[in-house]
C-alpha cells in the first residue's frame, strides 16, 4: 500500500514539476513577448518626447522685485547680467555701476566710473551685447569705454574640506584705457552716442550739443616686436539731416549707421570707409502721425527693430536689389504692444528682442519666426529699461525707479512657429521671402533657417517621380504575373522580384549616382526616346506575333509573352540610345542638357529627379509588385471561370472581373510602395544634389526629410532646436508610413474576408 502511494506521489511530483515548467515557460514567453512589444512602442514615445518641447510654449517665472537704494546713483540706462545669469548689472546716468545677486537681490558691489576732472556724463551707449562694451559720452566731447568683468576664484569651504566655494568678484574694466577717447575734436558735449568696440577697431558716432553729427574711428595696431599697442584716430563730420535726432545706432561690424530723426525717419549712412562716409538713403519707417519711440539693432547687426508710440513693432533691414543697391526695407510687423513702446533690448546671440511699453508691459519677441513669445505685466508704471542675460534665460526690467524686476525665462525654441516652418520667410540679407533650410553656418551671427517646407516638398517630389516609374511597371507586371503568366515562368520571375527587393538601396543609389546620372547626362535624348518607344514596342510586337502562323505560336504556348519581349526591349533600348546622339546633334545642337538650360532656361542638374525616379522606382517596384500580385492571384477561381465560360476573352475577364475585385488590394500595394518611397534615404542621398529647392522640374534635384536627417543628424548638438527638428522629421516619417501601412493592411484584411466569403 505504502509502496503504491509513494509511487503516486512520485508521479504526482513529476507532474507537478512538469506543470511548474509549463507555467514558467508560459510566463517567460509572455514576459518576453510583452516586453518586445513595449520596446517597439517605445520608439514612438521616445521620438515624441524629444519633439514635444519645441511645441510647448515658452515659460517665465514670476517677476521678482529687487529694490534699489533710495538715491540709486541716478537713473538706470543699462541692465544686463553675467553669463550664468546669477549677477545682475545696472548702469546709471551718473556713472554708477552696481552688481547685485539676481537670486536674493543682495547688492554685491558698486563702483563709479573714473571720470576725468571737470567732465560730466551726457550720454550713454551700449555696443553689441555679444561684445559687452558700453560707453559714456562726456561733456567735453570725449567718451569712456568700459565693460563689466567677473573674476572667478575658488576657495576651500571652511565647513567641508571636500568642497570648494566659487566666488565671483565683479568689477569694471576699461578696455580702451582709462583715458577717454576724443570723439568731437571741438570739445562739445555728446548729447547722443553710438559705439562699437572690439580689439582692433572702435567706432563712435555722436550728436554733439551744438547739433553736429560726428564720427570718430580708432584703429589699434599692436607692434609685432614690442607688443606695444598704438591707436590711430580718424574723425569726420557726417552730413546733417533735417529734424530732431532721437537715436543713433551703429551695428556691430561698424559698417552701417542708422539715425532716427524727425520722429518717423531713419537715415542710413554707409560708414565702412571711415574717411568717406556716405549718406545712403532716408526712409520714413512709420506712417504720418506716428512716432518712433524706440529702436535697436538685433544681434548680428543686420536688422533694425523699430517701436512706435502706438505700440507697433516692426523689423527692417537692408535688401539688395538687382542693381546691387541696398534699400532699407520693411520686413515684418509684430503683434503690437498695448502702449507706447519705450525701450527695446536685443538678445545677445539670437534674433530675439525684449520690448517694454508705457503701460508696464514687457514682451519677448522673436524676429525670424515673427512670434510674440511671452508677454508679462510689470505693473502700471512705464517700463524704462529692459535687458537680457547673455544666454537669454533671464530678463531684467526697470519701471518704477526704486526697484528692478527680474525673472527666469525658459525660452529655448523661439525659432519655431507655423510660419517659420511652413511659409516663406524673409531671412536677413535675402532679396525676398524664401523657403529655406540651412541649419548652420560658419559665422556666429548666422540666422538659422528652419523651413521644413522645401524638405517636405522634396520628399513628396521624390515619391512622386518614383511612383511614376513604379506604379505602371509594378501594377501591370503584377497583373501579368498573377493572371497570364505560365507557372514555369513564375518560378523564375518571383524569386527575381524577391532579389530585386533585397538589393541594398546603397547599391542602387551608388549606381544611380555614379553610373546612371552621367550616362543619362550624355545620352539624354536616347533615354527619353527609349521611355517613349517602349510601350509602343510591346503593342507592335503583339501585333506581329498575332500575324505569325498558328503552329509556331502554339509551340511557345501562352504565358510566355514576357520572355518573348525580353530581346525586344533590349533591342529597342539599344536602338534608342544609338539614335539618341544623332537626334541631339540634329535638334539640340549636340548637347541636350546644355540646350535645355540655354534655350529653354530649364536648370539641368546631372543628379536629377529622372535619375532618382528610376532608381527609387526600382526599389519600390518589388514592394508594390508582391502585394498587388497576391491580390490579383487570390481572386477566387470560380469568378474567372464563370466569366470565361460566358464567352468573355481573358482580357475582358481580367478587366471587368478580376481587377474590379482586386482593386482594393492594388490600391493598398500602391500605398505601401508610397510609404517606402517617402522614407528611402540612401538613394536620395547619393543620386541627388541634396539642395533644398522647390520646383517640380524633372531635371533638378531636391532634398528630402530622410536624406536631411542622414546628413545633419550626426552633427546636430543634443537638445537644440535643430536636433529636435530632425527628430520631428523622423517622427513625421514614422507616423506617415505607419498610418499609410496600417490603412493598407486594413484594406487588405477586408479584401481577404471578402474573398473568403465569395
Amino acid at each position: 500500500m505504502e509502496k503504491i502511494e509513494s509511487n503516486i506521489s512520485k508521479v504526482g511530483g513529476y507532474t507537478g514539476q512538469r506543470m511548474a515548467k509549463d507555467k514558467l515557460f508560459k510566463h517567460v514567453m509572455t514576459f518576453g513577448g510583452l516586453s518586445v512589444i513595449i520596446a517597439i512602442s517605445l520608439i514612438f514615445f521616445y521620438l515624441a518626447s524629444v519633439v514635444v518641447p519645441i511645441f510647448t510654449p515658452a515659460h517665465m517665472d514670476e517677476l521678482q522685485q529687487i529694490s534699489l537704494p533710495k538715491n540709486g546713483g541716478g537713473a538706470t540706462v543699462h541692465l544686463t547680467s553675467e553669463e550664468q545669469a546669477e549677477i545682475g548689472v545696472r548702469m546709471t546716468d551718473h556713472g554708477s555701476v552696481s552688481f547685485f545677486d539676481l537670486r536674493d537681490g543682495r547688492l554685491m558691489a558698486e563702483e563709479n566710473v573714473a571720470l576725468p576732472e571737470g567732465s560730466e556724463i551726457r550720454s550713454f551707449a551700449a555696443g553689441d551685447p555679444s561684445q559687452q562694451a558700453v560707453a559714456y559720452g562726456l561733456s567735453d566731447g570725449r567718451m569712456l569705454i568700459l565693460e563689466q568683468e567677473f573674476k572667478v576664484t575658488f576657495q576651500q569651504d571652511p565647513d567641508d574640506s571636500e568642497k570648494d566655494i566659487r566666488t565671483i568678484t565683479p568689477s569694471i574694466a576699461y578696455p580702451a584705457g582709462s583715458e577717454p577717447l576724443v570723439v568731437d575734436e571741438s570739445g562739445k558735449g555728446l548729447a547722443l552716442l553710438a559705439v562699437q568696440h572690439n580689439q582692433e577697431n572702435t567706432t563712435a558716432v555722436a550728436l554733439t550739443e551744438d547739433n553736429r553729427l560726428v564720427l570718430a574711428a580708432f584703429e589699434s595696431t599692436s607692434n609685432m616686436i614690442t607688443g606695444e599697442v598704438s591707436t590711430e584716430r580718424f574723425g569726420i563730420d557726417l552730413p546733417m539731416i533735417e529734424g530732431e535726432i532721437s537715436q543713433v545706432l551703429l551695428e556691430v561690424k561698424q559698417r552701417d549707421l542708422y539715425v532716427v530723426h524727425g520722429g518717423r525717419y531713419v537715415t542710413h549712412y554707409d560708414v565702412m570707409d571711415k574717411q568717406s562716409p556716405r549718406l545712403v538713403q532716408t526712409v520714413a519707417v512709420v506712417p504720418e502721425g506716428e512716432r518712433v519711440t524706440a529702436a535697436t539693432i538685433l544681434s548680428g547687426g543686420f536688422s533694425l527693430i523699430i517701436g512706435t508710440d502706438k505700440g507697433n513693432v516692426a523689423q527692417w533691414f537692408q535688401v539688395r536689389d538687382d542693381d546691387n543697391n541696398n534699400h532699407l526695407t520693411h520686413i515684418r510687423s509684430f503683434k503690437p504692444m498695448a502702449g507706447q513702446v519705450t525701450t527695446i533690448a536685443p538678445e545677445h546671440f539670437r534674433k530675439g528682442f525684449l520690448a517694454g511699453d508705457d503701460k508696464g508691459n514687457v514682451s519677448i519677441y522673436y524676429a525670424t519666426s515673427q512670434r510674440l513669445v511671452l508677454k508679462r505685466s510689470t505693473g502700471s508704471e512705464p517700463v524704462r529699461v529692459v535687458g537680457f542675460s547673455p544666454r537669454a534665460n533671464a530678463i531684467l526690467v526697470e519701471s518704477t525707479g526704486d526697484a528692478i524686476q527680474t525673472a527666469r525665462v525658459d525660452n529655448d525654441y523661439p525659432e519655431i512657429s507655423f510660419s517659420a516652418l511652413w511659409q516663406k520667410v524673409w531671412y536677413e540679407s535675402y532679396q525676398e521671402p524664401e523657403y529655406n533650410w540651412q541649419s548652420s553656418a560658419a559665422t556666429s551671427d548666422f540666422e538659422p533657417k528652419f523651413s521644413v517646407a522645401p524638405l517636405t516638398f522634396g520628399t513628396l517630389k521624390a515619391a512622386f517621380y518614383a511612383m511614376l516609374v513604379a506604379i505602371p511597371l509594378a501594377v501591370l507586371g503584377a497583373i501579368f504575373a498573377a493572371y497570364f503568366m505560365s507557372p514555369r515562368m513564375r518560378t523564375v520571375v518571383k524569386p527575381s522580384i524577391e532579389i530585386m527587393e533585397a538589393l541594398p538601396t546603397v547599391i542602387l543609389g551608388f549606381l544611380a549616382g555614379l553610373w546612371l546620372a552621367p550616362y543619362v547626362d550624355n545620352n539624354l535624348a536616347g533615354i527619353l526616346v527609349a521611355i517613349f518607344l517602349l510601350p509602343f514596342s510591346f503593342v507592335i510586337t503583339s501585333y506581329l506575333w498575332s500575324l505569325l502562323p498558328h503552329h509556331l505560336k502554339s509551340r511557345v504556348g501562352t504565358g510566355w509573352e514576357a520572355a518573348l519581349l525580353l530581346p525586344v526591349i533590349v533591342v529597342v533600348i539599344g536602338l534608342a540610345i544609338q539614335i539618341g546622339h544623332p537626334i541631339e546633334a540634329a535638334l539640340f545642337g549636340g548637347n541636350m542638357p546644355h540646350w535645355l538650360s540655354n534655350e529653354l532656361g530649364w536648370t539641368y542638374e546631372q543628379r536629377n529627379s529622372l535619375v532618382v525616379g528610376i532608381a527609387m522606382g526600382f526599389a519600390v517596384i518589388p514592394t508594390i509588385f508582391s502585394i498587388a500580385e497576391d491580390a490579383v492571384f487570390s481572386v477566387p477561381k470560380h469568378l474567372t471561370s464563370g466569366s470565361l465560360a460566358l464567352g468573355a476573352t481573358p482580357w475582358q475577364t481580367l478587366f471587368n472581373v478580376v481587377l474590379l475585385t482586386a482593386s482594393p488590394g492594388i490600391f493598398s500595394a500602391i500605398m505601401v510602395g508610397m510609404g517606402r518611397a517617402v522614407g528611402e534615404t540612401m538613394i536620395v542621398l547619393m543620386a541627388t544634389g541634396n539642395t533644398a529647392v522647390m520646383d517640380l522640374s524633372i531635371f533638378t534635384g531636391f532634398r528630402t526629410l530622410s536624406a536631411n536627417i542622414g546628413v545633419e543628424m550626426p552633427e546636430a548638438a543634443v537638445g537644440t532646436t535643430h536636433y529636435r527638428l530632425l527628430f520631428f522629421s523622423a517622427l513625421v516619417l514614422f507616423l506617415f508610413t505607419f498610418l499609410v501601412n496600417t490603412l493598407a493592411e486594413l484594406v487588405r484584411q477586408r479584401l481577404r474576408e471578402k474573398y473568403s466569403s465569395l
Binding site: 508560459k26 538601396t505 546603397v506 555614379l514 544623332p582 546644355h594
Partner: protein
C-alpha cells in the same frame, strides 16, 4: 487587326512588357555590378600614346585606358579643343595616368582626334605605391644604396626579388606597429583609467601612485625596445630603389619602401594575369584600406559587417521568437492582439532612418550616457558607450529587423497543423512540452528564414548605421588581442557605408570607382546568396507542412 485589338492582346502584351522590363532592370543591375566589379582585379594593359594638347604641342602619355565614350564634338569644342572634323560625334578616352605627385592629375578625358596611335610597350612598369596612387613608366635600373645593381632586361627579375624582401620587412614593421605597440598603448590607457578611477573615489594613495608609475615605466621600456626594432626595419627597408622613366622622359627614383606592388602588365601571359587576378582578389578581401580607402583592401569593412550582423542575430533571434510565440500561442486572440500584429507588421515599413534617429537619441545618448556615468566615469568627458559604436548599431538593427523575424516565425507557427498539436496534447504533454518538442522544431525552418532575411536586410542597411556607429576608417577592429577582446563600444566599418563613403565622399572618386564596384559586388553576392537560401528554405518548409496537412 480589329480582332487582334478586340481580343485585348495589346493590353496583355503591355502587362507582359512591364514584367519583362522589371526583369531586365534587375539583371542589368546585377550584371553591371558584376561586370565592373569582377574586372577590377584584372591587370589592364598600359598604353603609350601621343597627345596634341590645346597649345598644339605633342606630348607622350603613359596610362591605362579606363573608359571610352561617344561624345558630341560640340561638347569637346566647348571644352576648348580645337577639333577640325566634319563629324558631329567623336569619342573620348578616360586615361588613368598615375604619377599624381608629379603631374597633379591622375585621371583625364582625352578626345580621340587629339590622340595618336596606342602602343603597348612590354617594358612598361605599373607600380602601386603606398602613397600617391599608381606610377607608370619604363623600368630602367634597380639600385641598392644608390648603386645600380641591375639594368635593362635584367632589372625586372632583380626588382621582383627586392620587392619581396621589402614587402616582408614592411609586414614585420606593420605587425610591430599595429599589434605590439597597439598593445602597449592599450595598456597605458588602461593604467591611466585605473588611476583616474582611484582618484575619483579618493583612494589614490601614494603607494598606488608609485605602482602606477612603475607599471607605466615598464611599458615605456617595452615601447623603446620595439621602437628600436622598428627603426632598424625602417632603415633596412630604405635600402633599395628602382629608377623609372616617366612619359615625359624624367628619371624618377622610387624607394621600395613606398612600393606596395609592381608588375609589367604588357608582358604578362594569360596565366600570369590569372594568377595576378587571384592574388589581387585575395588582397582585396584581406588587406586594410590605403589612401583614404580608395585603394588596398576592405577587410575591416567585411569584418565589421559580419561582426555587427552576428551581434544583431544574437539579440534579434530570441526576442523575435519569444514575441511571435507569445502572440500566436499564448495571447488571447482578440482585437487587441490583432492590432498589435498589424502594428508589428507595419513597423517593417517604417523608414530605416527613423530607427537610426531612435538609436542615436535613445541608445547612444540616453542609455550610453547613463552607462558611462555609472561605470566609466573615469574616462569622462571622453565617452565610452555614450558615443556611437557597434553595440548600439547592432541593437538598432535588431529592432529594425525584429518585425521580419516575428512575421516569419508567426507564419511558421501558423502553418503547423492543428492535428499535430492536438495529438501531442492528447498524449498528455503539457502546452510547453508540445511547443518545445513538436511545434517549435517544425517551425524552426521558418525562424531560420526570418533570421536569414533579417541578416540580409541588416547587411545591406546603411542609413541608420550612419547615425549609430559606422565610420569611414576605424583605427582598430571591435575584436582584437587585448583584454576583454570584444570591444562593443568601438566604432566599426561597414561594406554598405564603405560604398557610400568611397563613392561619394572621397576626394578622388574616379580612382576609387573600380574598388567601389568590387565592394558593391561583394555585398550583392552576400545578400543575393542569403536571400536565395531563405527562399529555398521557406519553400521546402511550406511543402513539408503541406504534406502533413492531410494527416
Amino acid at each position: 487587326m480589329r480582332n487582334w485589338y478586340k481580343s485585348g492582346e495589346p493590353w496583355v502584351w503591355t502587362t507582359a512588357g512591364a514584367v519583362a522590363l522589371s526583369l531586365i532592370m534587375v539583371y542589368a543591375v546585377v550584371w553591371l555590378t558584376a561586370a565592373r566589379g569582377l574586372t577590377h582585379f584584372w591587370p589592364k594593359p598600359v598604353a603609350e600614346v601621343t597627345y596634341q594638347d590645346r597649345s598644339g604641342t605633342r606630348v607622350r602619355l603613359i596610362g591605362e585606358v579606363r573608359e571610352k565614350e561617344e561624345v558630341s564634338v560640340v561638347r569637346l569644342r566647348e571644352q576648348g579643343y580645337d577639333i577640325e572634323s566634319e563629324d558631329v560625334f567623336s569619342s573620348r578616352y578616360l586615361l588613368k595616368l598615375g604619377n599624381k605627385d608629379l603631374t597633379g592629375v591622375d585621371f583625364r578625358w582625352y578626345p580621340a582626334p587629339m590622340l595618336g596611335e596606342f602602343v603597348y610597350p612590354e617594358d612598361v612598369l605599373a607600380i602601386e605605391r603606398r602613397e600617391w596612387g599608381n606610377f607608370y613608366g619604363h623600368l630602367k635600373q634597380v639600385k641598392e644604396n644608390g648603386e645600380v645593381v641591375a639594368e635593362g632586361a635584367a632589372a625586372w627579375a632583380e626588382a621582383e626579388k627586392r620587392l619581396a624582401r621589402s614587402n616582408a620587412l614592411f609586414r614585420q614593421a606593420l605587425r610591430i606597429e599595429k599589434v605590439d605597440i597597439g598593445k602597449i598603448n592599450y595598456a597605458l590607457e588602461k593604467i591611466r583609467l585605473n588611476e583616474r578611477k582611484l582618484e575619483l573615489t579618493d583612494k589614490l594613495t601614494d603607494a598606488a601612485k608609485a605602482e602606477f608609475a612603475r607599471e607605466r615605466e615598464a611599458r615605456e621600456a617595452d615601447y623603446l625596445v620595439l621602437q628600436g626594432r622598428l627603426d632598424k626595419i625602417r632603415s633596412d627597408i630604405e635600402r633599395d630603389s628602382v629608377t623609372v622613366e616617366t612619359s615625359d622622359g624624367q628619371m624618377v627614383d622610387i624607394p621600395f619602401a613606398k612600393i606596395a606592388d609592381m608588375y609589367m602588365p604588357n608582358a604578362m601571359s594569360v596565366w600570369q594575369k590569372m594568377g595576378f587576378y587571384v592574388h589581387k582578389f585575395w588582397e582585396f578581401v584581406t588587406d586594410d584600406p590605403r589612401e583614404a580607402n580608395t585603394e588596398g583592401g576592405i577587410f575591416p569593412a567585411i569584418f565589421g559587417t559580419v561582426m555587427m550582423v552576428l551581434l544583431m542575430s544574437v539579440m534579434v533571434t530570441p526576442l523575435g521568437i519569444m514575441a511571435a510565440v507569445y502572440m500566436r500561442e499564448y495571447a488571447k486572440q482578440g482585437p487587441m492582439i490583432r492590432a498589435i500584429r498589424i502594428s508589428v507588421n507595419n513597423l517593417a515599413g517604417v523608414p530605416s532612418i527613423v530607427y537610426g534617429v531612435f538609436g542615436l537619441g535613445f541608445f547612444v545618448y540616453v542609455l550610453g550616457g547613463s552607462i558611462d556615468e555609472l561605470f566609466f566615469a573615469e574616462a569622462l568627458p571622453a565617452p565610452t558607450f555614450g558615443s556611437p559604436g557597434i553595440l548600439w548599431a547592432s541593437l538598432t538593427l535588431a529592432i529594425l529587423t525584429l518585425p521580419v523575424v516575428i512575421v516569419a516565425t508567426e507564419e511558421g507557427l501558423s502553418r503547423v497543423p492543428r492535428t499535430i498539436r492536438e495529438g501531442s496534447l492528447a498524449l498528455g504533454a503539457t502546452k510547453a512540452e508540445t511547443l518545445w518538442r513538436t511545434v517549435l522544431p517544425m517551425a524552426s525552418p521558418a525562424m531560420m528564414t526570418g533570421l536569414i532575411l533579417a541578416v540580409a536586410r541588416a547587411a545591406g542597411e546603411v542609413a541608420p548605421l550612419m547615425l549609430v556607429g559606422v565610420v569611414k576608417l576605424a583605427p582598430s577592429l571591435p575584436l582584437d588581442g587585448n583584454f576583454p577582446f570584444l570591444h562593443l563600444e568601438r566604432k566599426f566599418m561597414h561594406l554598405g557605408f564603405h560604398i557610400y563613403d568611397v563613392g561619394f565622399q572621397s576626394p578622388n572618386v574616379e580612382a576609387a570607382r573600380p574598388l567601389v564596384y568590387a565592394t558593391a559586388l561583394l555585398l550583392v553576392i552576400i545578400i543575393v546568396v542569403l536571400n536565395l537560401f531563405a527562399i529555398r528554405l521557406r519553400n521546402r518548409l511550406r511543402e513539408r507542412l503541406r504534406g502533413l496537412e492531410g494527416v
